[in-house]
């Protein structure tokens, strides 16, 4: 049972990591396009949208890599959880304001669909990240205690 849970945890962590790595890489390739997607939400002021378009893709990529390699994995899952909560809020505000636009989460590659599907998907992802954070934090504290 323990082994099965470890395998399941590994698969979930790897899937979340690969998802964020690919999302980050797609946006790094074309930050101009990502800036347009952020501005279409009409929530952030220009300077904030501009900074987000440049920094957020790298944050996703680095955190995804950290999660995959288990280096800084607690910090990475904490960052990714914060990002996912922000995405859910953004999409919910856009939905409330009647804005129907592509979130630009995966660059040109949009496989999720509308705003509601995005909220459901991100909520599930948040659950996986919370589990990852809890597991990584537990492992790190056991490791620290052994030293």
């Amino acid at each position: 049972m323990k082994l099965l849970l470890s395998i399941l945890f590994f698969i979930l962590r790897a899937a979340a990591a690969v998802l964020f790595i690919s999302a980050g890489a797609a946006k790094i390739a074309n930050p101009g396009q990502f800036l347009l997607e952020i501005r279409a939400f009409e929530i952030l002021p220009y300077w904030m949208a501009f900074s987000t378009a440049l920094v957020l893709p790298w944050l996703e990529l680095l955190s995804g890599l950290a999660l995959l390699t288990m280096k800084y994995s607690s910090a990475a899952s904490l960052i990714l959880m914060t990002l996912t909560i922000s995405f859910i809020n953004f999409i919910a505000i856009a939905k409330r304001n009647g804005i129907d636009t592509d979130c630009g989460c995966f660059g040109q590659w949009n496989f999720i669909g509308g705003n509601t599907e995005h909220i459901v998907f991100n909520s599930a992802l948040l659950g996986v990240l919370a589990l990852t954070f809890w597991r990584c934090a537990k492992l790190q504290r056991i490791f620290d205690a052994d030293r």
Binding site: Q33, S74, I99
Partner: protein, 165 residues
Amino acid sequence: MNSNKTLTSQAGAFSFSVKLLVRTLILLTLSVILGALSLYLNPHAPSYGEDILREGEIDLESALAIKDVVWVDARSGQEFERSRAKDSININEDDYYTQVGEFLARWKNDKTVIVYCSSDACSSAENIAERLRREAGADKVFVLHGGWKSVFSSGKLTLASGKAK
């Protein structure tokens, strides 16, 4: 004995929190540095303040410079009747098949078609433009950057209201 255990546990939690904070800051700092570098090294990176157009988009200045234009208003019928660009045709997603007839009657293949909806935040102009390309066979179809907001605020286009003739 018990208080020793509590102290060790508290120290462990504190050390974990400090490590977590430092590592989070390291990841954040690295991302900011790489993001700033990409501003100079990535050819697709935008310049600050630059108005970027999506593929298939056109800005109002360029649109006004084109001679033969068919304006398509992709907003709802109510919004169209309230105020629109003069001589524009209303084709929205709900009534596409009933409204596309008027477009086909006015459009010739050499004419440029410019579609707009409320603003950059709506996707109906993009969807209508795609359908006009695919289903009506129109080649020169653009989506107006900024949508109706840019038409209205520029004051460069004659406006009309009420039911279309």
